[in-house]
């Protein structure tokens, strides 16, 4: 019996220069960067590309130092679920510690991280349309 896992929503690629890594991936693998985002408060910088249903999220610091070498690594992945409260309850019942669902960066979405048992992978669930989205101001 599954927990309603639907698909890999996004894979995080952490880089010391996310814009450079995103540009390299875009040019090498022929997919466009769809969106860039600076996280309010932290200044963390992100670029997003999408290949079929999976988003590649390139994440890095807001201020890029003059690095000799751009270095990136895979920073985990996030699985979309139908009902995040049920998913969290189910994995906890199976013995895997999981954080409480909380609002995600994505508007209207909630996210919860699984803390161990994932094979060393930072892993989280995300549910879209879990929260009311505030009306965008004109």
């Amino acid at each position: 019996m599954g927990i309603g896992a639907q698909y890999i929503d996004h894979i995080v690629i952490a880089s010391n220069d996310s814009a450079a890594t995103a540009k390299h991936f875009s040019e090498t693998f022929d997919f466009p960067i769809k969106r860039t985002f600076a996280r309010p408060g932290t200044g963390a910088h992100m670029e997003f590309a999408k290949l079929d249903e999976v988003v590649l999220e390139f994440a890095g610091p807001g201020t890029v130092q003059p690095y000799d070498e751009v270095k990136a690594r895979m920073g985990g992945f996030v699985v979309a679920v139908e009902d995040i409260e049920k998913a969290v309850a189910a994995v906890r019942a199976a013995g895997f510690p999981c954080g409480d669902p909380h609002p995600a960066v994505q508007p209207g979405a909630k996210i919860a991280g699984v803390k161990s048992g994932t094979g060393g992978v930072p892993f989280a669930f995300i549910q879209y349309n879990a929260l009311p989205i505030e009306e965008a101001k004109a």
Binding site: I11, D30, R73, V91, G119, G120
Partner: protein, 136 residues
């Protein structure tokens, strides 16, 4: 042409142990589970949406996967993009100056596969795979 993320590869100490989460807790279906002798690994594929999760457990100490586990511990190992023509896409990558680990495709768990060297991709190991039959 690269069409989707075929799978994410995860190096684990024990595929059986990792399947307690991915198969048993998440309820993902195992689509392949076999030992690949020449690579020195047991590979397990689990379907999720249009992609898969690949668990890689080293069965010998003299392999890249075993060295990865020894030096970095368990964790994400590579991203695999599905290609409709692995050989052509490997050639295209080489034409862009990307160093290849596999200059020609070879059989793997996901079909005909080829790896690109991580040092050409900011440290990220990339695999191309052309499935040899319909489905994942």
């Amino acid at each position: 042409m690269l069409s989707k993320v075929h799978h994410v590869g995860i190096v684990v100490k024990s595929a059986d142990e990792a399947m307690k989460f991915y198969r048993d807790a998440l309820g993902l279906k195992v689509t392949a589970d076999r030992v690949i002798e020449d690579q020195g690994v047991r590979g397990v594929l689990l379907a999720i949406g249009n992609s898969e999760i690949e668990l890689l457990e080293p069965i010998r100490a003299d392999t890249g996967v075993a060295r990865f586990l020894e030096t970095r511990g368990e964790g994400m190992h590579h991203i695999c993009f599905e290609s409709d023509d692995c050989a052509k896409d490997l050639d295209a990558a080489a034409g862009k100056g990307i160093e290849l680990i596999d200059k020609v495709p070879r059989p793997g768990l996901a079909g005909m596969i080829g790896f690109l060297h991580p040092k050409s991709n900011h440290g990220v190991l990339i695999e191309y795979a052309t499935p040899v039959h319909e489905g994942h």
